[in-house]
C-alpha cells in the first residue's frame, strides 16, 4: 500500500510545477498496470497526458512465433515449455481450431508451464527420449536467466533441449517510436528493471539523438509520480536530460555480470515485434556457439520476418501509443481476457488487460 501522505505531496508538487500541457509515455506494461490500478491518471494535472508504451514482452511476441510453438507442440517427441501468460497468446489462426498453447495442451500436446528457465534443464534430464523446447519471451530483464540456461546446457552438452527465442530489446523500440514523425511523445518514463540490467548508457544516447528527456522509473505509485515530476521539471526547464529516479535499484553500469552473460549468448538483430514492422536491433538472436540450441534450426522453421495485421484488433496502434485500449472497437466486446484477439489483452502487463481489469 503506498504512503498516501507522500503520494499527496508528490501530486501537489506535480500540480504546482506543471504549467504547460505535456505528453509522456510510460514504456513498461508494469507501469501501465500501476497507473490503472491506482487511478493515477485521474489525479494528474489536466494538461499532463500519459500514453502507454509497448513494454510488455508477451504482447509483442509475433503471432508467427506462437504458430511455430504450436507446430512444435504438436510433435509427439516435444515437451513445449513457457511462462504462464505465453500459453494463452493467440497465434495467427485465432478462433479456428488450436490457436493457443493451452488449447494445444487440451488437444493432447505436452505443454508445461514453468516459472524459471533452468527448470527445463531438469525436465530434459528426466525425459532423455523427448525434445524439450523453451519458448523464451522477455526483455533484457529475463534474457540473463535464459542465457544462463543455455550456458549450462552447453557446458553439460545437453542435446535434447532447445530454445524458441522471442527475447526483445526495449531501447531500440523507444528509438523507433521517437523517430516516427507522427509521434506525440515529449518525454519517456523508462523501464526501471531493464535499466537495472542494461544500465543507462543506451538511454543517454537516445536523449542525445532525439533531445527528449528520459527518466528511469520504478513501478509503485510513488515512484511513478516522482519520475513524472522529474520529467515535467526537465520539460518545463527546456533541459532534455537523463534522470535516474529509480536509484535504489538502477546503477548507471547496470548489472555487468548479467550483461556479459547476455552478450556472450545473444546478439542484437533486426526483427519484428507483434503489430510492428521489424525494429532495427530490436530482437535477440543466439550467437554461433549457441545456435545448435535454436529450435528453428533444429526443427527447420523459418525466422519470423514480417509483422501481421490482426483484423478487428487494434493492438498495433495500442502498442505504439496511437490509441488507448477502449478506442478499439473489439475492446471488452469481442476481445476479453478469456477470448483475447490481441496479446495486450492476454498478459497481466498488457495495456488492454489493465484497462479491462480496472476501467470499463
Amino acid at each position: 500500500m503506498p504512503d498516501p501522505v507522500a503520494v499527496r505531496s508528490a501530486l501537489q508538487a506535480l500540480h504546482q510545477q506543471t504549467n504547460r500541457p505535456w505528453t509522456l509515455m510510460e514504456v513498461c506494461g508494469g507501469q501501465t498496470h500501476t497507473i490503472l490500478r491506482w487511478g493515477l491518471d485521474q489525479l494528474l494535472p489536466p494538461g499532463l497526458k500519459l500514453i502507454h508504451g509497448p513494454g510488455c514482452p508477451v504482447c509483442v511476441t509475433p503471432a508467427s512465433t506462437i504458430d511455430q510453438a504450436l507446430q512444435l507442440a504438436a510433435r509427439s517427441e516435444v515437451i513445449l515449455c513457457s511462462f504462464g501468460d505465453m500459453l494463452r497468446v493467440p497465434g495467427s489462426r485465432s478462433g479456428a481450431g488450436v490457436s493457443d498453447l493451452l488449447q494445444a495442451r487440451a488437444a493432447g500436446a505436452d505443454v508445461r508451464l514453468i516459472t524459471a528457465p533452468l527448470q527445463t534443464l531438469d525436465l530434459a534430464a528426466r525425459h532423455p527420449d523427448k525434445q524439450v523446447v523453451l519458448l523464451a519471451a522477455g526483455f533484457e530483464t529475463t534474457a540473463p536467466a535464459t542465457a544462463l540456461l543455455l550456458e549450462q546446457a552447453r557446458r553439460l552438452a545437453v542435446d535434447n533441449l532447445s530454445l524458441l527465442p522471442a527475447h526483445v530489446r526495449v531501447v531500440p523500440a523507444m528509438e523507433r517510436l521517437s523517430a516516427d514523425p507522427h509521434n506525440q511523445i515529449q518525454g519517456f518514463l523508462a523501464a526501471g528493471h531493464v535499466a537495472a540490467v542494461m544500465g543507462t548508457a543506451e538511454l543517454e544516447a537516445l536523449v542525445q539523438r532525439h533531445r527528449l528527456p528520459v527518466v528511469v522509473c520504478g513501478f509503485d505509485p510513488l515512484e511513478l509520480l516522482l519520475a513524472l515530476l522529474a520529467c515535467v521539471q526537465l520539460l518545463e526547464a527546456g533541459a532534455p536530460r537523463l534522470v535516474n529516479a529509480y536509484g535504489a535499484v538502477v546503477r548507471s553500469q547496470g548489472n555487468p555480470a548479467a550483461r556479459l552473460l547476455v552478450q556472450q549468448v545473444f546478439a542484437a538483430a533486426d526483427g519484428p515485434w507483434r503489430g510492428l514492422s521489424p525494429i532495427s536491433q530490436g530482437v535477440l538472436q543466439l550467437r554461433h556457439p549457441y545456435r545448435r540450441f535454436d529450435a528453428r534450426l533444429r526443427f527447420d522453421l523459418p525466422l519470423p520476418l514480417t509483422a501481421e495485421e490482426l483484423g478487428p484488433c487494434r493492438s498495433a496502434a495500442v502498442l505504439q501509443g496511437h490509441c488507448k485500449p477502449p478506442d478499439c472497437p473489439s475492446f471488452a466486446t469481442a476481445c476479453t481476457p478469456l477470448h483475447p484477439l490481441g496479446a495486450p489483452m492476454v498478459s497481466h502487463e498488457g495495456a488492454c488487460a489493465a484497462y479491462y481489469a480496472y476501467r470499463r
Binding site: W38, G39, R359
Partner: protein, 335 residues
C-alpha cells in the same frame, strides 16, 4: 486390514472383502451412528421446516497444506454453503475417489481430519461411497460431499433483495487459504507463513440470527475471493457495490506475495470468510456481534451507474478502480 497393507490397491474399491475391511477399519469412524454403515440409504428423521441441500467436489492439490487438508475442506466447504443459505448444517454424505497407490497413513490422516471437522461444524456424516481408480486416473484423492441443513431464517436470503444503501460487512481478513495453497504448490518460502483460514461459518451466522439480525444476502469467499463473490452479488442485485479499499484487511504476507506473483489479493481464495449484506439499520448490530472474528464494514450498495452493475473500489489515493471477477484459468486447484 493386515499390517502389510500400506497403500490403497484397486481391490479396496472392488466391493469385496478388502473394501469391507477398509470401510470397517478406516471409514466407520466417520459415522456418528454406525447403524448407517452397510445400508443402501440413510434413513433420517428431520425437523419440520425448509431444508437447504447442496453438493460440492474437492480436488485440491496438495492434499495437505498449512491449516488444513482436502478432508477438512470437503466437510467445512459444504457445511459453509449451507450456512450461507441461513441453514444450520445437519447431515453430510461423503463420496471418495481414491487413486491406486495412495499411502494408507495419508488416508488415515484425512479421515481423522474429516471426523474433527464434522464435529466442529455440528454436522453428522450419514452415508458415503468409495471408489478406487488405477494409478494416473485420479490425483491421490477426490472428495464429493453433499449436505442438508435446516433453514433458520424467517425470510429467504437472496441477493435479489439487495437495495441501494445496504451495507457490506466482511467477516475477517483476506487471502489466507489462497496464500497457503500457493506457498505449498510453488515451494514459496514466505517470512510470514499463514495457514488456511478453513473454518466453519455457521457459528457466526447463528450469532447474527440469535442476535436478531437477518442478513439480506450472504456469500462465502471461496475460489475467486472477495472479487468474485461481490461481482456475483452485484450482478444478481442490479446494484453497484462500492468499497473502501483501505478498509479491506489483508492477511499478513498477502500483499507482498501477490506483488511477487502478479496476483490481485482480492481474488485469492478463502475458506473461512464471508461477506454479509445488511440493511443500514442492522449493520452496526451485526458488526458488534461479529467483532470477535475481526469483522469490518467495507462498503455499501449504490444504484448502478451504468447498464452493467459493477464493483468499484475507492483507493487509498482517492481515485477509483474496478474490481472484476477473475477469469479463473491458470488457477491451481485450490479447493
Amino acid at each position: 486390514m493386515s499390517d502389510s497393507v500400506t497403500r490403497i490397491q484397486l481391490a479396496h474399491g472392488g466391493g469385496g472383502s478388502a473394501m469391507q475391511a477398509l470401510i470397517a477399519e478406516e471409514f466407520s469412524r466417520l459415522y456418528a451412528d454406525t447403524r448407517h454403515l452397510g445400508l443402501d440409504a440413510a434413513v433420517l428423521t428431520l425437523p419440520h421446516g425448509r431444508l437447504a441441500f447442496c453438493t460440492d467436489g474437492y480436488v485440491v492439490q496438495p492434499l495437505e497444506f498449512a491449516g488444513g487438508d482436502i478432508g477438512k475442506l470437503a466437510v467445512i466447504g459444504t457445511a459453509n454453503d449451507l450456512a450461507m443459505a441461513g441453514a444450520r448444517p445437519l447431515h453430510l454424505s461423503v463420496a471418495l475417489i481414491l487413486e491406486e497407490g495412495l499411502p494408507l497413513p495419508l488416508l488415515q490422516r484425512l479421515v481423522a481430519s474429516m471426523v474433527q471437522a464434522a464435529s466442529a461444524c455440528g454436522i453428522t456424516i450419514v452415508c458415503g461411497d468409495t471408489k478406487v481408480v488405477a494409478r494416473g486416473q485420479a490425483d491421490g484423492v477426490f472428495v464429493t460431499t453433499s449436505g442438508i441443513g435446516l433453514i433458520e431464517t424467517p425470510r429467504a436470503i437472496h441477493p435479489a433483495a439487495i437495495r441501494p444503501g445496504d451495507r457490506l460487512v466482511l467477516s475477517g481478513d483476506l487471502g489466507r487459504h489462497g496464500l497457503a495453497i500457493l506457498a505449498a504448490r510453488h515451494g514459496l518460502l514466505f517470512t510470514h507463513v499463514v495457514g488456511s483460514d478453513c473454518a466453519p461459518l455457521w457459528p457466526q451466522i447463528e450469532a447474527l440470527l440469535v442476535g436478531g439480525v437477518q442478513p439480506v444476502a450472504l456469500r462465502d469467499l471461496t475460489r475467486g475471493g472477495l472479487g468474485c463473490a461481490l461481482a456475483e452479488l452485484a450482478e444478481a442485485s442490479g446494484c453497484d457495490l462500492v468499497l473502501d479499499e483501505t478498509a479491506l484487511p489483508l492477511a499478513p504476507g498477502v500483499e507482498a506475495a501477490c506483488a511477487l506473483l502478479g496476483l490481485e489479493p482480492l481474488h485469492l481464495a478463502n475458506e473461512g470468510r464471508f461477506v454479509a449484506v445488511l440493511t443500514p439499520r442492522e449493520a452496526d448490530q451485526a458488526l458488534a456481534l461479529l467483532a470477535p472474528s475481526g469483522a469490518v464494514l467495507v462498503g455499501a450498495a449504490q444504484p448502478a451507474a451504468g447498464l452493467q452493475p459493477q464493483v468499484r473500489l475507492q483507493t487509498a489515493l482517492g481515485s477509483e478502480r474496478l474490481l472484476g471477477p477473475w477469469s479463473g484459468d491458470m488457477l491451481p486447484r485450490i479447493c
